[in-house]
Symmetry: C7
Subunit: 96 residues, 7 copies
């Protein structure tokens, strides 16, 4: 069972502390012990609708590892997994 995000939203799963170290060495300094802002993209919406009705596809792709703003998104549990739905605009960058 999956959750298909709408428009410019992304379904992401946070990368655990360990995963982050090995994966990309990109961690957000834990000024306060907050949840890591790195995640892996599980599903993407079709994109934002511009004022003249065209679809502006999202740039982020399924499988990308991304860094995103601290307080972004809404938490959802899908098949027992703790996931997050964020807007593409919350994404700071893609880990290469």
């Amino acid at each position: 069972m999956a959750l298909q995000p709408l428009y410019d939203r992304l379904l992401v799963k946070r990368l655990e502390e360990g995963e982050q170290q090995s994966e990309g060495g990109i961690i957000i300094p834990d000024t306060a012990k907050e949840k890591p802002q790195q995640a892996s993209v599980l599903a993407v919406g079709k994109g934002r609708i511009t004022e003249d009705g065209n679809v502006q596809p999202v740039e982020v792709k399924v499988g990308d590892k991304v860094v995103f703003s601290k307080y972004a998104g809404t938490e959802v549990k899908v098949d027992g997994d703790d996931l997050l739905v964020i807007r593409e605009d919350d994404v700071l960058g893609v880990i290469e």
Copy 2:
């Protein structure tokens, strides 16, 4: 008797706790005992009017199961049923 939502609004009925478990296994973690944010779509508006007067149809369809932002919408009682009118922009994703 029905309620036809206007423009980009949706008429939805919350999925009860049980329904959510079996249906899609998608529940919003109850940080506070809030009402579940999963619902079934009963009716949809024709869509948002863009600045140049065109209708931007909604993507969500009648019968879809959706996850939506916690504090979204206005509660209405229709023929004894507790329903909710939300905006399409409140929808995080469609359960597949």
Copy 3:
């Protein structure tokens, strides 16, 4: 004597408790003893002017029964009748 609403405004008359029960069975749960948000549409404006100067007619018609957001509109008394002027965007849906 009548009051012709301007642009995207509507002149409506609240449906009394009784009327609501029989009419459409749609009542807004009285979390707080607020005024019912169902009304009958008495007059409509010609519609909103879009940025390029076109008129975007309102969708709601005279005679429609509508459900609208709780704190919407300005109260006016016309020929002794307690009426309300609301914006079309305050309308959640049309009772069918």
Copy 4:
């Protein structure tokens, strides 16, 4: 000596209590003893300039009797008369 309102502004004179009763029977319930929101239109601006530079004429005409939002406008005294300059968007409707 007159005051020519600019763009989408209107110069109006409040209808006194008495005038309102006979004129249109439209009074705004005095929840608090506020100034009546009915007025007669003395002068109108040429209209709002849309984003692409066109003039969007005002719909309200000189001589119209209008109902407008409670706290709208700026008071001005012209030749001893207490008048008000409001925006067309403050007008709820025209009394017919």
Copy 5:
């Protein structure tokens, strides 16, 4: 030495109490002893730039006497004169 206002700004000089009485009989009721909101226009900007890059000239002309919103503008002293720089949108109307 002069000050050429930019875009949709106007350089104005307040009309003194006396000037107002004789000139146009238009005074803003001094609910609180505020500075009079009538002024004479000394210089105007070339106009606002619309979104598609065109210049939308100001309607107000040098020499006009205007009434403007109470708290508008920034005070400047030019060659010993106390003047004010306001936006055209702060002008309620032109005294004719």
Copy 6:
């Protein structure tokens, strides 16, 4: 070494008290002993990008003396000089 402002930003140097008196006789009344809002323009950005991607050049030129809003801009020190980066929209007018 110079600082090239971006888009609609300007690099300016405040005119000292003395410079202001002789230069243009334009001083902002020191209601509170604030820093003078007159400055000389050292560098300008290429201009604002409009919604359809065109460059809207700034009107202010290098060498102009300008009056600007009191609390505008960010202070920077370049080669020991105390300078300010402001937006063109903060400029009230150009001293002629």
Copy 7:
């Protein structure tokens, strides 16, 4: 391992106190002992998407030294380096 910023975002590394002195002599006066606002650009997004769906490339290039607004951006650690992701609009100017 790198972090590719999205759209109009930039990945930058702060210039240390020493680097600033020699590099461009541009320091932001430390009214309060805040982090220096000068940085070197390590990576740039493809640019902002305008309303009609075109890409508006960023003006700032990799290798530029920039001055940016004090409280801008989100801190990220990449391969042990303390970096910052800011928006191009936070950049006051490019050090030449």
